[in-house]
C-alpha cells in the first residue's frame, strides 16, 4: 500500500539526515508511549491527490496490462524535545543531498520537496515548555495498482478442435 511505501521512504530519509536511531523516528498515532529524548513523528499521509484524470495503463511485452498510479501526498513531520529545530533543519537540508535523496526517494519511485516552513509549535506540557517544530513535505509517488486478477477483461481464450474421419 502506498501509505506504507511513503512512510518507509520518509523514515529512511529522516534517520539518514538526522542521525537519529530508527526507534526515534516513529509513525504517528500508534497509541503508544513517547520515545525518550528528541524524537520525530511522521504522519505519512496528511492528504493525497491523484496526478491527472486517469491512471496510466501499460501493456507489457508479456501481454499483461499494468496500471501505474501517480499520486501526490502531503506528509507532516513533527519533532519533539530539545534539538527539534536542528533535526528538522538537517532533514530539510538533506533533501538536497543526492545520496540520501536517491536512496530514500528516487530508488522507491518517489520525489519529495519541502512545502511548509519549519514552524515553531512549542507548547506547555504539564507546567513546562516542550520544544516542538513541525514541517510538511510533498511526495510524488508512482506505484503499480493493477487489480489482482479481477480486471474483467479476457486475458486468455481457450479452444479445442475435434477431427472426425470422413
Amino acid at each position: 500500500m502506498n501509505e506504507d511505501l511513503i512512510y518507509q521512504a520518509v523514515h529512511s530519509w529522516l534517520t539518514q539526515a538526522t542521525g537519529l536511531d530508527g526507534s526515534k523516528v516513529i509513525k504517528a498515532y500508534q497509541n503508544a508511549t513517547e520515545p525518550e529524548g528528541l524524537y520525530i513523528s511522521v504522519i505519512p499521509v496528511l492528504s493525497m491527490n491523484p496526478i491527472g484524470i486517469i491512471d496510466e495503463e501499460i501493456h507489457t511485452t508479456e501481454g499483461e496490462l499494468v496500471t501505474i498510479s501517480r499520486r501526490t501526498a502531503m506528509v507532516q513531520i513533527d519533532a519533539y524535545g530539545a534539538g527539534s529545530f536542528g533535526a528538522l533543519n538537517d532533514a530539510m537540508d538533506a533533501l538536497g543531498n543526492r545520496t540520501i535523496y536517491e536512496s530514500a526517494f528516487v530508488d522507491n519511485s518517489m520525489s519529495a520537496r519541502q512545502i511548509q516552513s519549519i514552524t515553531n509549535t512549542t507548547a506547555l506540557k504539564g507546567s513546562r515548555y516542550e520544544q516542538r517544530f513541525t514541517c510538511s513535505i510533498e511526495i510524488e509517488i508512482g506505484y503499480d495498482s493493477t487489480p489482482d486478477g479481477s480486471r474483467g477483461y479476457f486475458d486468455c481464450v481457450e479452444y479445442d478442435v475435434e477431427i472426425s474421419e470422413g
Partner: protein, 131 residues
Amino acid sequence: MTIPFSAPLSVTRYDPGAYDSNGLWVDGSTSVLSVNASVQPVTPRARQAIEDEIQREGGSHLVGLLVVYSDQELKGDYKNTGEIGDRFTVQGQTFEVIKRSHWNGGIISDSPKITLGHWQCYAALVDEKTL
C-alpha cells in the same frame, strides 16, 4: 476477609512494548492471571470526574466505564512507559484498566465506616478502532 460479592476474574496482563528500528510500535508479551474481583457500574459522579480528567489531558469522552474492586493489584495503562492496562472481558466486551487507587484497610476519619484494604480500578471499554 475478601471483597464482598467478588468472583474470579480472568485478566490479561501486558508487558511494556517498544518501538522497533522502523519506528513501529510492538506490543509486549501477554500473560493471563485470575484475580478475585467485583465488577460494578460506576456512579454518574465518578464518571464525570474521570471524563474531566481525560479532557484535561486532551482526550475526549469515554465509551463504557466500569469499576473493579479487587484485593489484588491490577495494572493501569501508563503512557510514559508504553504499558497497556490489564484487560478483561465482561458480557463479551473487553475493558482496560485506566485508573487505579489503593485503599488501606481501617476506619475512615470523620466517618463511622470501616474499609477493607483493596484496589479500586476504573476500566474503559476497548474500542477496536483505537487499537
